[in-house]
């Protein structure tokens, strides 16, 4: 009789434990919806639009004729189709790589100058973050639709996939080490399982984001760079083929997901 009561009590607490976990998740979602209203990313979107339209660089030209994949000057819904192959550069490019390309070819900047200061620091804000905020906001609400039709796009996807599972660095970490299983967390941060469709869609469609703890918009190049730092890998070079390959892999895996960025994160 006592054994049965004990079993029932233990069973009850187990149920309560599971219910509490689900409740916590719901409450976190509710909190996120409440604070979504005042997203400071909008300040960066406005600033980015100004920079996009401003005449700059040695040629004193704006970025308004930049072709982001849907024709010169078209900004609407470009991000959900990136990365993609660009014939004029004979290269697969993500958004930031393409913006650098336009800064060099249209505005006359030297490549080193265009790539300088991609991420804001305590001393300096980065224009690139604002431009990315502006362009990605124009894709908000659209479904991810990255193609792998060109052979170079396919190649980039495959390289990205290999990189995702490749263990390296002093901790022998791969991306999959942290992002290869369901319901994992590091400290108090959920780790999306990027090998599962739902998590992969949710993760990719919420970058770029205003990172409250850093008081700025962080882009996808930044997110990958930071992952490399967390794995204690060598520095990931801004707009390198490695960064584009990984982006290609993750963006393509998010196809079908509704783009919700610029979002708000911790």
């Amino acid at each position: 009789m006592r054994k049965q009561i004990l079993a029932a009590v233990v069973g009850f607490f187990c149920c309560v434990g599971v219910a509490n976990a689900q409740n916590t998740q719901q409450e976190i979602e509710r909190y996120r919806q409440m604070i979504a209203d005042g997203n400071p990313a909008e300040l960066f979107e406005a600033k980015g639009e100004g920079i996009w339209k401003q005449k700059r660089g040695p040629r004193n030209v704006s970025l308004e004729q930049c072709d982001l994949g849907k024709g010169p000057g078209v900004v609407k819904d470009v991000y959900v189709e990136l990365p993609r192959y660009f014939k004029d550069a004979d290269r697969v490019m993500d958004l930031e790589t393409r913006i650098v390309h336009c800064m060099v070819t249209l505005q006359g900047f030297k490549p080193e100058d265009a790539k300088r200061n991609p991420f804001s620091t305590a001393d300096r804000t980065s224009d690139m973050e604002s431009i990315v905020a502006f362009v990605t906001a124009e894709s908000k609400g659209s479904k991810m639709n990255v193609a792998v039709s060109h052979p170079k796009e396919r190649e980039m996807y495959q390289i990205g996939e290999k990189m995702f599972f490749y263990r390296a660095g002093p901790h022998d970490f791969a991306c999959a080490t942290c992002h290869g299983e369901d319901s994992k967390r590091i400290r108090l941060q959920d780790l999306p399982n990027l090998t599962a469709q739902k998590d992969a869609q949710r993760a990719y469609t919420t970058w770029p984001a205003y990172r409250v703890s850093q008081s700025t918009v962080r882009t996808f190049q930044w997110r990958l760079n930071d992952c490399f730092r967390q794995q204690r890998f060598p520095n990931m070079e801004f707009t390198s083929d490695a960064s584009v390959a990984l982006t290609m892999f993750l963006a393509r895996n998010a196809n079908g997901g509704v783009f919700a960025a610029p979002a708000l994160k911790r």
């Binding site: 209203d37 005042g38 997203n39 400071p40 909008e42 300040l43 406005a46 600033k47 305590a122 409250v212 008081s215």
Partner: protein
Amino acid sequence: MAEPMKIRAAMQGDKVEVKVLMSHIMETGQRKDAKGVTIAAHFIQNVSATHNGKTVLSAQWGPAVSTNPFLSFRFKGGKPGEKVAITWTDNKGDKRTDEAIVTG
């Protein structure tokens, strides 16, 4: 000159709901930089909102308010098409005023 605020003002029933995003560093004055030197305090101290010349909100802020503050409030007596102006002043004497028009 500080960066522009983003203001939205819309009718919510018989009240006007105003939402403002302000671009400001809101430095508390308690942080230290990499060399150990205290970073000087720089935060918004006063916020006021006016409608038809009348003050509908006035606030005194301190270092507890975060960077790029978001403010949301409602007031009675406004109609679509009318202007709402928000002004902030900070402890260094900087100031910024922006306006928005109430939408239906």
